[in-house]
């Protein structure tokens, strides 16, 4: 059977300045426990305007306008430098402003739960009418509601307010009076996943000349759960996004595994395609408002802007081997198993060297490792260090222990086999997958031959197990040779083998 390929990718960010304050858990927790805090007072001064978010180098990398290698040329910190030729749109997607995204929440809403103010609706309708991917959806915004009506929903019926420039301009209504899984807060978070996932999906289709009707299956891999009180995580974001994107011939399902889910989903997609079950599988995920401003206290304390001001989303198309695009080596998969253990050494061994050993490869045979690609501009000031760099050090140290690297090469390993982090700290969003777009290029028109995508997840956060998790897969340059299913052995050969076995069996009977 022929390996599946990564045929296309879409990457999007959404600037959400008001949602930082209203929906990020660091801020909502502070409002509950310490409503008069200095942090909450100072917060508005530290919110970046949309243009600054667009001009931010790591964000330009995320949507494909700067390569990870070129990001190294920008001296850190990155937040105080503008990219000269920054653009809202990139070759993989876009950085959408908040008002248009709120319109997208309305467009994604199948149950009339999103209510938008009349004036706001009028202002975003013209913008959506001019958006290259949503022109035809502008009518779904309708005319909007009176603001008094929206205020009433928020004050009297527990609706979740939607804000623009600090003003209430809409809301997400609850869908049930007492069901906590259908309350306005949960529905808001779920609609955000759906809308940002849809945005990534549409860019995937648009940027890669994909016939949306040819998509057979969708796997959604974010970290939210949708369902009601009888089935809290019933699903199915995947099919909801597929429907909104017009993928009429697709069904799908949701895969969960904290930050590791996208890599789990990628392996599943590759396996489904390789097995011939489906030809075209899309892996998609939307973003998480809860994580907005997660490290905001540290950023404010250090006089920095709140850098966690964007939602992330991505979509990847995994298709049957076309002889061109990079293949997903399902035989070179790493797994952190129940018995692996939790020491970093055990983790890196199971995720990195286990798949390499299966293929007789050394640590240095992988040209690029895509690990947790968190942007260090965000994490370092918050005391969490440089996450990709720490991962590269661990991989290199393991290389030293395996005698595949000299100890003196530890420091340079990250520069050669790694990349600086550029993804927002949206949990599943930075985990391995941000590189898939560049990997597709690097492994076709570029100069590298092998990359490894590594996803890790902190399962203990859900309190069901103390375990950690992770999976990895090797991506490789396509040799151009494709095999059709079953071509490895002809019908005649099978007949000969059966005849041989029967002769053998008969000879044993004679001897007996």
């Amino acid at each position: 059977m022929s390996y599946a390929v990564v045929k296309g990718t879409g990457y999007v960010l959404v600037h959400t300045p008001d949602m930082i304050y209203h929906n990020g858990t660091t801020q909502t927790t502070e409002k509950l426990t310490n409503p008069d805090s200095e942090y909450l007072k100072k917060l508005p001064e530290h919110i970046r305007p949309y243009e600054k978010t667009v001009n931010y180098a790591p964000n330009q990398v995320y949507i494909g306008n700067i390569t990870p290698e070129n990001l190294r040329q920008y001296e850190m910190p990155w937040y105080d430098k503008d990219v000269a030729e920054a653009n809202r749109f990139g070759k993989y997607g876009e950085i959408m402003p908040q008002d248009e995204f709120i319109a997208l929440l309305k467009i994604s809403d199948a149950f009339d739960l999103v209510k938008l103010d009349k004036n706001f609706t009028a202002s975003v309708k013209s913008k959506i009418s001019n958006h290259p991917l949503f022109k035809e959806d502008a009518a779904k915004l309708k005319e909007g509601e009176e603001l008094e009506e929206i205020e009433k929903y928020v004050k009297e019926q527990h609706a979740e307010g939607l804000y623009q420039d600090g003003k209430l301009i809409g809301c997400v209504k609850r869908a049930h009076d007492i069901d906590p899984n259908l309350n306005a807060h949960v529905l808001f978070e779920n609609l955000v996943v759906k809308a940002s996932g849809l945005l990534a999906f549409k860019h995937l289709v648009d940027k890669n000349n994909i016939d949306v009707a040819a998509i057979d299956y969708v796997i959604e891999c974010s970290e939210e759960a949708c369902g009601d009180m009888n089935q809290r995580g019933g699903g199915n974001f995947a099919k909801a996004i597929a429907e909104a994107a017009g993928a009429v011939n697709a069904t799908g399902s949701d895969t969960r595994g904290f930050c590791a889910a996208p890599t789990h989903a990628l392996i599943q997609a590759a396996s489904l395609v390789q097995a011939g079950t489906y030809e075209n599988v899309v892996v998609v995920a939307g973003g998480a408002t809860a994580k907005l401003g997660m490290n905001g206290k540290d950023h404010v304390k250090k006089g920095m802007p709140i850098l966690e001001d964007v939602l992330g989303g991505f979509a990847v198309l995994v298709s049957k081997n076309d002889g061109i695009n990079p293949i997903l080596r399902t035989d070179l998969v790493g797994r952190h198993t129940v018995g692996t253990g939790s020491s970093p050494q055990a983790v890196i061994t199971s995720l990195v060297t286990m798949p390499l050993d299966k293929g007789g490869l050394k640590i240095t045979d992988i040209d690029k490792y895509s690990v947790e690609m968190q942007n260090p501009d965000i994490t370092k000031p918050a005391g969490a260090g440089d996450v990709p760099e720490a991962n590269y050090k661990m991989i290199a140290a393991l290389g030293v222990k395996r005698n595949e690297l000299e100890r003196s090469q530890l420091a340079e390993f990250g520069e050669k086999h790694g990349m600086p982090g550029w993804a927002p700290t949206q949990g599943h969003i930075p985990s391995g997958v941000p590189y898939l777009g560049f990997a597709k290029e690097d492994l076709t028109t570029g100069t590298i031959n092998r990359a490894m995508i590594v996803g890790k997840g902190s399962l203990f956060l859900g309190r069901m197990t103390n375990l950690f998790d992770g999976v990895s897969i090797v991506m490789e340059r396509n040799t151009g040779k494709t095999e059709t299913a079953g071509a490895g052995i002809s019908e005649e050969a099978v007949k000969n083998m059966i005849a041989e076995a029967m002769r053998d069996f008969a000879s044993h009977l004679l001897k007996a």
């Binding site: 253990g341 050494q345 890196i348 720490a390 661990m394």
Partner: protein
């Protein structure tokens, strides 16, 4: 230190006695290790958890501290921690841990 972990340390210390408890840390940075060590000796410096103002004075070590390293099987240590020993800034972690123990450890 995580609020739930503060509760666990406090409960265990009450149950088994402070003299019978050793806290072993695995933090990746000296600063983070120092904060956790201070929490279980001099009390939570952030005043957020149940150990705020509680001076347990527990014995506390980091996985790369020499005292711990010498106490365990070298083969197991190499298998479990050898790689991280190469990655972490061991000297600064040891300096931080030693300083906290000298100031606040009661045992």
């Amino acid at each position: 230190m995580d609020l739930e972990n503060q509760n666990r340390v406090k409960t265990m210390t009450e149950k088994y006695g402070a003299e019978n408890i050793i806290v072993l840390l695995g933090a990746a940075e000296a600063e983070a290790a120092g904060l956790a060590a201070e929490t279980v000796t001099n009390g939570d410096p952030t005043y957020a958890g149940s150990l705020a103002g509680v001076q347990l004075g527990l014995r506390v070590y980091h996985a790369v501290d020499q005292e711990f390293k010498e106490a365990v099987d070298p083969a197991v240590y190499d298998e479990q921690i050898g790689m991280m020993e190469m990655v972490l800034d061991v000297d600064s972690i040891i300096a931080e841990m030693t300083s906290i123990r000298e100031q606040f450890c009661k045992f």
